[in-house]
């Protein structure tokens, strides 16, 4: 292939991926913003003013902000010390412990919300055991939602802290160790150096928390995401839904952009940097770290799953439950598989482009992807409906299962692109150049040189996309065509009028799909650690 031909193939593939990204991820959001500004009779500015002056809006804003800030604080207080422990304490079976501690993040948040509802709700396990309702005022509250979301999102802070600590130059710590005890070195040298990453993780958790729909919806906390859903799904007021989505979107974009700038390229690249010196270890805190990890695991994983299992034990026939939800389960598995595959197909080229462009452009791409990933699910749902619910050819997609796949693409292509961009950056450009000099065309070089080297990244991105798509609720519940359902939609919609045992059984089933591959991963890590 000539050089001209090579460039043409490359340009065509990357342009196709870029177009798919623009249509699937950017357009719905752009359309939503345009609609919300245009829907005001007097133009955009008065809409914002009205939003800020309306007392109900102010309450929503206050609730959303408190939920985000409380969750970020709680998740950091739990996650950061665990991250320190994973990075610097010689814990037994650390790999398995890490996988187990990540698990709550991989479960759909509403499953966790459901578990705490069945434990502390007005007819929950605690109320039944003590004979009166003692916990429900806490459960159905902002504090309750904050507690649940902190237990869902703490792994993000934990991972960010661990990665940041591993990247701290060991010499800096050794220089401090010459005069100070390890605890003082941690507090004055190590943690301040890791602070940008920990802060960025906290900001990201803030955004994810205010973007969350399932948990506040279940625990009856009025925040923007639930109001957007109510405006659209219950009141059929598309204009109100788009206007409500706007402040949520603005806050998400601003906070995420700050986080991405703060942490720079460290957000995703987790490879250890070249560093000399030996990092400080805090093995004196080993016992405390083990006890703390176990307590967190108990609260964030064991208790919720045990509650669901206890509730589900009341079903007469688990098989009947599965049969009754067969369509939802099959749909979920099929759509999540198709969605994850399409997500990776688009994201791999975006990731490749990000890895090969200049540093500045790469940073901009990272910020854009983080912002898009943090965009609230209900906002994306409203944007997708506005974009595709049109007369003519475009509208042919609306009302089909393809809308669910489009929702998965809109939500998860950015995160997959971040993961794959980091993977491709580990493949030197010289490998492609060597293939080109050897006579290979660009596609051939990609197929036989680049893609095989990032297969682990591709598998990781696919798994992440599958897990997220399988548990997606906020956008799916808005865009799902009449009659079509997925497991999350089915669980969420039958909660009010179905015996808890059946709902809990379905939630456990949902968890099992996530846990089977996770348990396999944990087992693999354990075997490697024992060896």
């Amino acid at each position: 292939m000539t050089m001209r031909g090579l460039q043409a193939t490359q340009a065509a593939v990357l342009a196709l991926a870029g177009t798919a990204f623009a249509v699937c991820c950017v357009l719905p959001l752009a359309y939503m913003v345009w609609r919300s500004l245009a829907s005001a009779p007097q133009g955009g500015a008065p809409v914002v003013a009205a939003l800020l002056l309306d007392a109900r809006q102010r309450e929503l804003l206050a609730n959303s902000t408190l939920l985000g800030a409380g969750t970020a604080l709680g998740a950091t207080l739990i996650g950061a010390p665990l991250g320190v422990a994973l990075a610097r304490v010689a814990l037994p079976f650390k790999g398995v412990l890490r996988v187990a501690l990540i698990a709550p993040l991989l479960l759909p948040p509403y499953v966790m919300g459901l578990a705490w509802l069945y434990l502390g709700g007005s007819a929950g396990l605690v109320a039944r055991m003590v004979g009166r309702d003692v916990l429900s005022p806490w459960t159905y509250s902002l504090a309750g939602a904050t507690f649940v979301l902190a237990l869902v999102f703490f792994p993000l802070s934990m991972l960010a802290t661990e990665v940041a600590l591993r990247r701290v130059d060991g010499r800096s710590e050794e220089a401090a160790l010459m005069v100070a005890r390890p605890g003082r070195v941690l507090w004055r040298i190590t943690l301040p150096l890791a602070a940008p990453a920990i802060t960025a993780a906290a900001l990201l958790i803030f955004v994810l928390a205010i973007s969350e729909f399932g948990v506040p919806g279940l625990l009856r906390v009025r925040v923007f995401t639930t109001e957007v859903f109510t405006a659209f799904a219950a009141l059929y007021d598309f204009n109100r839904a788009t206007i409500l989505a706007l402040p949520l979107l603005v806050v998400s974009v601003l906070v995420t952009a700050v986080a991405a700038v703060l942490v720079g390229e460290r957000l995703i690249v987790t490879r250890r940097g070249t560093r000399a010196g030996r990092p400080v270890s805090f093995d004196a805190w080993r016992r405390f770290a083990i006890v703390a990890s176990m307590c967190v695991l108990l609260l964030a994983l064991v208790v919720p799953l045990a509650v669901l299992a206890y509730e589900a034990s009341g079903v007469r026939s688990f098989a009947a439950i599965v049969r009754g939800s067969r369509e939802a389960i099959t749909n979920s598995l099929m759509l999540a598989t198709i969605g994850a595959s399409l997500v990776v197909t688009i994201a791999v080229w975006l990731g490749y482009t990000r890895a090969r462009v200049s540093r500045g452009l790469g940073r901009i791409a990272d910020v854009l992807w983080v912002v898009l990933f943090a965009t609230p699910s209900t906002v994306i749902g409203v944007g997708l409906i506005g974009l595709w619910n049109q007369p003519g050819m475009v509208g042919a997609v609306y009302g089909t299962d393809a809308m669910l796949v489009l929702a998965y693409l809109a939500r998860f292509v950015p995160v997959a692109a971040l993961v794959l961009g980091a993977s491709v950056r580990h493949v030197p450009a010289s490998h492609e150049e060597a293939a080109a000099v050897g006579g290979a065309g660009w596609l051939r070089a990609m197929t036989f040189i680049v893609l095989p080297q990032i297969r682990l990244g591709i598998l990781t991105a696919w798994t992440i996309a599958f897990i997220l798509a399988f548990g997606e609720l906020g956008a799916s519940i808005l865009v799902a065509p009449p009659g079509a359902t997925t497991l999350p939609i089915r669980i969420y919609t039958i909660i009010a009028n179905t015996p808890p045992a059946q709902v809990a059984a379905l939630a456990l089933l949902q968890s099992a799909v996530v846990f089977v591959p996770l348990a396999a991963l944990g087992l693999g890590v354990a075997v490697r650690e024992v060896r």
């Binding site: 010499r171 220089a175 401090a176 005890r181 150096l193 010196g277 030996r278």
Partner: protein, 229 residues
Amino acid sequence: MSVPFVRVRDVTKRYGTHTALMALSLDVGLAESVVVLGPSGCGKTTLLRLLAGLEVPHQGEIWLAGRQVAEPGRNLVPPHERRIGFVFQDLALWPHLTVREHLTFVMGSVRVPKSQRPQQTRETLGLVRIERLAHRYPHELSGGEQQRVALARALVGRPRLLLLDEPFSSLDPDLRATLRSELSRLRRALELTMIYVTHDREDAAVLADRIVMMREGQIQSIAQDSRPR
């Protein structure tokens, strides 16, 4: 030499299958300056790290000021209790602290009374001639200025022993010569015991009371400096 201030006895240190130090013994007297010369990988840095307590010997003993600080497989005294100043090859300045904060951190760690800290900071900055840089961060300093900060940090805690691991290796020859002579002046003024690791013979010529030649983890020769004092 009377009782040596630093005593290294038959110390062996291995990294996996590689033996970095092999039954090495070395005595250094109080206020003596020893320069350790040798090619890369000969074990010079390992020797300093063992003295600092950043590594544990596999065999042998290490004594500082008459007190045993390490035995085979175990450090008996942690680094921060050995009262050692260490200048690392890459300096290891803390990017989030100003020059003054570097010194304050050290003084806080070694429990210098708060009332004495401003005076001690001024004196130390004056010693290395960087009084005007007190409020700067490391990235705002030139290479030579950073070297002086690293030296100030090592000195401000009033250490008994100063260890330097090729501190001037990344500097141009002129600056290197300047800092070398300043270090010599400081060492004499403060009567410091010093072990200086380098592969530069000029460093050795200016700074050493004794020159220790190392090769493949062992001492090859020890030469007394014969310059007029």
